[in-house]
Chain length 452, copies 2
Amino acid sequence: MLHIHLDTTTTAHKTLNRSNLNLSTFHEKHDTPATSPKEDISDKWREFHGSSDWQNLLDPLHPSLRREIVKYGEFAQATYDAFDFDPFSEYCGSCKYNRRKLFEKLGLTKNGYNVTKYVHAMSHIDLPQWLEKSHLVETWSKDSNWMGFVAVSDDQESRRIGRRDIVVSWRGTVAPSEWYDNMQRKLEPIGQGDARVEHGFLSIYTSKSCTTRYNKTSASEQVMAEIKKLVKFYENNGEQVSLTITGHSLGGALALINAYESAKNFPGLPISVVSFAAPRVGNIAFRDELYQMGVKTLRVTSKQDVVPRMPGFVLNESLQRFDDITGTLEWIYTHVGVELKLDVRSSPYLKKGLNLVGFHMLETYLHLVDGFHSSESGFRVEARRDVALVNKECDMLVDELRIPHSWYQSANKGLIQNHHGRWVKPVRDPEDVPSPTAVDSRAGGVLELEYV
Amino acid sequence: MLHIHLDTTTTAHKTLNRSNLNLSTFHEKHDTPATSPKEDISDKWREFHGSSDWQNLLDPLHPSLRREIVKYGEFAQATYDAFDFDPFSEYCGSCKYNRRKLFEKLGLTKNGYNVTKYVHAMSHIDLPQWLEKSHLVETWSKDSNWMGFVAVSDDQESRRIGRRDIVVSWRGTVAPSEWYDNMQRKLEPIGQGDARVEHGFLSIYTSKSCTTRYNKTSASEQVMAEIKKLVKFYENNGEQVSLTITGHSLGGALALINAYESAKNFPGLPISVVSFAAPRVGNIAFRDELYQMGVKTLRVTSKQDVVPRMPGFVLNESLQRFDDITGTLEWIYTHVGVELKLDVRSSPYLKKGLNLVGFHMLETYLHLVDGFHSSESGFRVEARRDVALVNKECDMLVDELRIPHSWYQSANKGLIQNHHGRWVKPVRDPEDVPSPTAVDSRAGGVLELEYV
């Protein structure tokens, strides 16, 4: 523990605030690596995984834990960055890349994990702005949405972090809006006791239909089967295994439900949740059962973001304000775990005006985690994560940085010029075309392209 | 004339309307050239250039004239496509490419012209939404905007069109809005007689200041000097020369003022204006002087676009409607020349709902010109221009075509990843960095990069 203590105090005085934001420093940073050197945490991994509820690690935040939080956050961000949102795409609602290419395409191979499985959920559920449907008649699937993935640490990363880490990353939704509160009205039982969780989340997690291509099994069944396979394989191999479940916003809610089910199915497996900007999802009995089963939850929130206060808040987007409409819901729906609370005002790079979407974006969170030293201090001078990422899908960076807002976009929205000079939608790379089965089980056993 | 007559009747029956829009035909078209074969018009060029006020060439529209109109329209479109609109760019308000690369970058080398000069105008003039200013302190110029270019037909094109054609293309503004009408209040004298034109246009055209880099001379002086140089050069070479001035929207207004001044300076030079969606610009005396000097104007308008009805209309953008506020202005400001009137409803590819911006966009006009056969008939089946271009900066194409709206955009708004993986603004290619002089006239005569 001495080592931990030393780590955090040495950086205590080097912080930035608005008044000392030096733009030339920002621009000089362009020529420095965007990540800090990795440290071996193999002898302390259980603490970083939450075995002691992250006691004495959060305020000030331990540098190695910060790195782990950002790592899981980047896995959650990947579910947005690779999602096909184009309603005119025949693959709308799928992942743009197959699982073997995902991390490479998003620059995440540095994290040392491999995706082993894609997860899909039914999209007929009435949750506007979360589940995308193509406007076209002929599509890869009329019923399903890509909801995330299961990944596992490679040998090198496993050595560094002291165990084989299985990650489940759940896609959330970008914009909090009025519909969210409308949905938050119905609790439904989960498990055998009194535990109850919000109906809409559970429905996404458990729905299936034999008439679909991608949801003959539910998201729950897909994930459980994959975890089971991986746990069995690595435990048979004599390895220590852990499970870490992550998600942003509504994806954080799914992460918690997923952790609950995992704890039921894999007693003894160290399970933790790292959620960002997640709303409350279940009742007190749900929380207590999670505690009893030893599930550890690190809930990253920000003072300015309203979603972690949901349900119980109505967000009026047209008026750009929110109101506390009911004190009752706050008692019915209960938060779980330990909170790491960020503050938009701590970063000299961020605009301070009300920006409900910007406050909620995962990239904003990751920036604030990167700059967080303690609740008492300003933004870390040593923060190395690329600040420009914050503006990928919103307008949060101060103008002086000259980073355009919402810059994450394809050239010409993906249209390309054919040999006649006409602008056309390209055909998707065959290996990225969704296909429900990796292996054709019929005669011949032809290997299909492994989208999932 | 017989040839002309034959050309137009052969296509009379092959037209499309909404009910027979066949999407598979549209998609089959992807495999056909986007341009029609060029025809030699060297023996009829004066008629196509307006010598007889385009009599008997407009309804039905002669195919060769259609091609010429589209050619000039593409030159006008180039002033939008290459303009740096980014307020965070240190080159905001300039052209993104130097004059030697412009047509190549925009796929316009097919038209057979070379840019000989860029034109800049002062940007301090109070015309919001037209003149762009960088938010930055250090910029290529605090005072000037790129306003267009002078180009000249190459040898091959000159042979085809029967003369050496000098083109001046003026940049306009994309969105018509309320400010436009506010501006249209003050007529100012031009020339020695009673001719008067709108103050704001004339101000852009004539402003200069010795303290600027790009406007030590006015746009007027820059263009006049270039035309003079080119006319002299080619006439000394024994060639027939013509001048064609084009522009869209407010650029069409500048084109007319530019034509007036050119006619004063180059008596005997065949001068015509091809304007798109241009408002009225001057009084009756201005029009009459243009007629007396032999300036020919082809004014391309559309039934649904309100800008050609300005001034005299107030556009209430928030209510998405326009009102005729004064009958008087209509008499004070007078249209010039011959009108080719298009109809959005003629194209089966276009949405029919009210879209004030979409109706006004130059690409919408070019699409309608391409599909125009006569005022009585539907859209030409043989139209070859790429329909997808219509949606470059608006949302006018019917959903069935699956072309995203406003798709003309750079990957990641021009940000690129440096070797550390950080997203940064790239340094502009040195040869595209604006530089006011092509040749350093001081000792040594070092050749500078030729942006202008």
